[in-house]
Amino acid sequence: MKTWKIADIGQFFKNSFTAVLKGEFLLRLNIGRYFIHIAYTFLLFGLIIWISLMIETTMSKVEKNKAVLKELEIVHSQKVFEVVNISRRSSVEKLLEEMGSKVTEAEKPATTVKR
C-alpha cells in the first residue's frame, strides 16, 4: 500500500502546473462529468441578472407612477378645497345676490310629508 509523503504535495502541484500548461487540467479532473451542472449554474446566473434588470425596470415604472398618482392627489385635493371654499353659506348667498337671483335664505321651516 502506497504511503503518503510530503513530497507528494510538491508532485501534485508540479503535475497540476504541467497539466495547466498543456491545457489538460480540466480533462484530467474529468470535469466533463459535471458539464451539464456547470452550464445550468451559468444559466441560473444569467437568469438572476436578467430578472434583476426586469425588477429594476418595473420599480422605476412604479416610481414614475407614484409620482403621477401624487400629482393627481394634489390636483384632487386642490379641486376639493376650491369646491368646498365656494360652498360656504354666506358666500353662496352673496353670489346669488350678485347674480341677481331671487333665491334667498328660507323664510320659514320646510314642510315635510310624513310617510
Partner: protein
C-alpha cells in the same frame, strides 16, 4: 526494417501551436486578472471622492403620512392638507458659459418672466422683479426667493412663464413644495378647529384647538424606505426594509358649519361697529346630547384691529358671570326646598340685604312703581334683582355666627357644594385644551367676607367660563340631566368609524323635572316681560337670562377714576322654550368704557338673529304633513 525508414519527421501542427499560444495568453491574462482582483479586494484603497461617485447611493427616505381631515357634523371638509409652492431662483445659471449674445437673450427672457411674475404677485412691479433677478445675477446669488407661496393653480401658471418654461437647468428655477393645512371655510371656527405648525413638527406648544389636541390621531405615522440609484432612476431598494406610512385618521366633529356661519355673521353684525368691545363669544349646544353645533370666538387683533378667531373665550376666559348666576341660586333654593313656588315674596322696602353691605337701589323704585312692599321671587328674577337673590342666599345659607368664629359654616358649605354638584366649580374633561377652572370662594379661608355669600347669590365673587354657564342652562333645558359638552363625534378611517365618542353625562340629575320646569317658567318670564324682551317675538319662544358684570381694576374697584367700566354682558338660554332643542350663550367683553354693554343688548340681539335663522333651516323645526291613508290608496 530500417529504423530510418520507419522514422517520419515530426510534422509541425500549426493550428495546435496557435491554439496553444492562445491558450497560454488567456491563461496568463486570467492569472493577472485573479492577482489583480485579489489585490483590489484586499489591499487597494480608492480615492474617497471617486469611491463616493462610483458607489450606487442607498439612502433612507422618510415617507410622510397624509394628515387626516376634519369634517363637520354633515361630513363637510373643515381642514384639508394641500401643497403650496415657493419659487426660488438660481440667478447664476449659465452665467459663466453664456457668450454676450446668449447672455442678452437670457436677460430678455428674464424681463418677460418678470412681467408674468408681476401679474401673479401684484405687490411687486415687473421692473422690481427684473431688477431683483438682474442684481442677484450680478451678485452671484444662487437662492433668490421669488414672490410668496402659491397654490397649485398659480404654480401651473408660473412654470409656463418665459424662461421658467425652459426648465430648471436653463432658467435656474427652484421650486419647494410643502404640505400645509387649508381651511376651506376660512376664518369660521378657526380657533376651535385650531392649527398645528406643520405635520412634521414635534413642537407641542403650537398645537392649538382640535388640530392640536387630536394631533396624535390626525398626524399618522411616518414610513421609511431605502432608495438606490439605478440606470432607470431612483428606485426603492427591494432588498432593504420597507415600513409603510400610516395615514392619519379623520375627525368628525359636532360643529355644523352652516350654523357656525350664521352665528359668526350674527355676532359680527352686532359687534363690528363697537370700538369699545374687545371680544365676544357665542356657543350653540344641542340640548339632548351636549354636542356643540357652533362656537364663535372673536377677539380684536392687537386690541384695536379687526375681530379675528385668535383666542377661545368660551373656554379660556373666566369672569364674574353676573345675573346669569341667579338661576344657580334659584335652583339651589328650589332643590333644597327653601322655596316652594316662584310666587313666594320677600320684603321690598330699602333693598338692603341684612348682615351684608349689599344695597339694591332698584327695590325702592320697584316698590314705588308697583305700590307694594313685597316682591315675588319671579318678579325679582324678571327684573334681575340683586337684593332678592342675595337675600335668598343669605337667609337660607348664611353662616350661623352664634356657633363662634370658624364654625356654623354647614349651610354655606351646602350652597357651595350645590354649585360644585352643578359642575360650576371644576374644569371637566373637554375636547379642547385650556378649559379654565372656575373660582368659587370658600368660607373657611380668611379672604371670605360677610358680603361674599350674598354676592355669589347674584353672580359676583365667583368666576365662570361661558361654557360652564351654558352647560348649566343646558341641564335645565334637558330637565335636569347635565350633558357633557363635546366637539368630537367620532374618529374615522376612510369613511369607516373606528372610534365613537359622542355624548356623555356630567350629572344625571342636577335637579328634578319639576324644578327644571319651574326655572324654565322664570326664564320664559325674563324674555317675555323681563330684561331680555328683545327676544320676545322671535320665531320660536326663547327662555333665558341676561347677566351683566363689571371687571375689576387693579385697585379692586369696578370702575376707574373716569368712571369707566369693563363690561361682561351675557345672555344665556334655550329654545324653543317648551321643547328645547338648543341652548345658547353669547357674552361680550368691553374695554374700559363709558358706554353700557348689558346682556340684554348685543348678546340678546345676536341670539335673536341666530334663533330666527336656525328656525327656518333646522330639521327639528320642520312641519310634518301626515298623509291621509284613504287618499294614499
Amino acid at each position: 526494417m530500417s529504423t530510418e525508414a520507419t522514422h517520419t519527421p515530426k510534422k509541425r501542427d500549426r493550428i495546435g501551436v496557435i491554439l496553444y499560444l492562445l491558450y497560454v495568453a488567456l491563461l496568463i491574462a486570467s492569472v493577472i486578472l485573479i492577482v489583480r482582483l485579489t489585490g483590489i479586494q484586499l489591499f487597494f484603497q480608492p480615492d474617497p471622492k471617486i469611491e463616493a461617485a462610483l458607489t450606487p447611493s442607498n439612502t433612507v427616505s422618510i415617507i410622510e403620512p397624509a394628515r387626516g381631515n376634519i369634517l363637520d357634523a354633515e361630513g363637510r371638509l373643515l381642514a384639508i392638507s394641500c401643497p403650496i409652492y415657493q419659487f426660488y431662483m438660481d440667478c447664476t445659471v449659465l452665467k459663466e458659459t453664456n457668450n454676450a449674445q446668449q447672455e442678452q437673450a437670457w436677460l430678455d427672457k428674464a424681463r418677460e418672466l418678470s412681467a408674468g411674475l408681476a401679474a401673479e404677485f401684484p405687490e411687486k412691479s415687473a421692473d422690481q422683479f427684473y431688477k431683483l433677478i438682474k442684481d442677484s445675477r450680478a451678485a452671484g446669488k444662487k437662492y433668490v426667493r421669488i414672490g410668496r407661496p402659491v397654490d397649485r393653480n398659480a404654480y401651473n401658471r408660473i412654470i409656463e412663464l418665459p424662461l421658467f418654461r425652459d426648465g430648471r437647468y436653463r432658467s435656474g428655477m427652484i421650486v419647494e413644495q410643502e404640505q400645509i393645512r387649508q381651511y376651506p371655510y376660512g376664518k369660521l371656527a378657526r380657533r376651535t378647529i385650531g392649527f398645528v405648525r406643520n405635520n412634521k413638527s414635534t413642537v407641542t406648544n403650537t398645537h392649538i384647538g382640535l388640530e392640536g389636541k387630536f394631533d396624535y390621531i390626525l398626524h399618522g405615522q411616518e414610513g421609511r424606505e431605502w432608495m438606490r440609484v439605478t440606470d432607470y432612476g431612483r428606485v426603492r431598494n427591494t432588498d432593504s426594509a420597507f415600513v409603510k406610512a400610516v395615514d392619519g385618521k379623520d375627525l368628525r366633529i359636532t360643529l355644523n358649519i352652516d350654523y357656525q356661519d350664521i352665528a359668526d355673521k350674527a355676532l359680527r353684525e352686532q359687534i363690528v361697529e363697537e370700538p369699545d368691545l374687545e371680544g365676544a363669544t357665542l356657543v350653540l349646544m344641542e340640548v339632548k346630547t351636549g354636542a356643540i353645533r357652533a362656537m364663535v370666538n372673536l377677539v380684536r387683533e392687537d386690541g384695536t384691529g379687526p375681530f379675528e378667531e385668535i383666542q377661545n373665550l368660551a373656554i379660556g376666559r373666566k369672569g364674574e358671570p353676573g345675573s346669569v348666576f341667579k338661576t344657580v341660586t334659584l335652583m339651589s333654593v328650589l332643590n333644597d326646598g327653601f322655596i316652594k313656588s316662584l310666587d313666594e315674596t320677600l320684603p321690598a322696602t330699602t333693598g338692603h340685604v341684612a348682615g351684608t353691605s349689599i344695597n339694591d337701589d332698584h327695590i325702592p323704585s320697584y316698590a314705588w312703581q308697583h305700590k307694594t312692599n313685597r316682591i315675588s321671587i319671579l318678579d325679582g328674577f324678571k327684573i334681575s334683582s340683586n337684593y332678592v337673590f342675595a337675600t335668598l342666599a343669605v337667609q337660607n345659607y348664611g353662616i350661623d355666627k352664634s356657633k363662634g368664629r370658624g364654625k356654623g359654616l354647614e349651610k354655606t358649605e351646602r350652597f357651595l357644594q350645590n354649585i360644585y354638584n352643578y359642575k360650576l366649580g371644576e374644569a371637566f374633561a373637554f375636547d379642547l385644551d385650556g378649559l379654565q377652572t372656575p373660582t368659587i370662594p370658600s368660607p373657611s379661608t380668611r379672604y371670605w367676607t360677610d358680603t361674599d355669600l350674598g354676592s355669589i347669590g347674584f353672580g359676583y365673587s365667583t368666576e365662570e367660563t361661558p361654557l360652564h354657564i351654558l352647560t348649566f342652562y343646558n341641564a335645565i333645558a334637558n330637565k335636569g340631566r347635565m350633558m357633557k359638552p363635546y366637539l368630537v363625534e367620532d374618529i374615522e378611517e376612510k369613511g369607516i368609524v373606528t372610534e365613537r365618542r359622542g355624548p356623555g353625562v356630567l350629572n344625571a340629575a342636577v335637579c328634578s323635572k319639576a324644578v327644571a320646569d319651574t326655572i324654565t317658567r322664570a326664564l320664559k318670564a325674563v324674555t317675555e316681560e323681563g330684561t331680555a324682551k328683545r327676544l320676545k317675538g322671535a320665531k320660536c319662544a326663547v327662555a333665558g337670562k341676561t347677566g351683566t358684570s363689571f371687571g375689576t381694576y387693579a385697585n379692586g374697584q369696578y370702575q376707574d377714576a373716569q368712571g369707566r367700566r369693563k363690561y361682561q354682558g351675557t345672555f344665556v338660554g334655550f329654545f324653543p322654550a317648551d321643547a328645547p332643542q338648543y341652548s345658547i350663550i353669547c357674552t361680550v367683553y368691553s374695554k374700559p368704557t363709558g358706554k353700557q354693554f348689558q346682556g340684554g343688548g348685543i348678546p340678546a340681539r345676536a341670539i335673536r338673529t341666530v334663533v330666527d335663522q336656525l328656525y327656518n333651516i333646522d330639521p327639528a323645526f320642520r312641519e310634518q304633513l301626515k298623509r291621509n291613508p284613504a287618499q294614499a290608496q
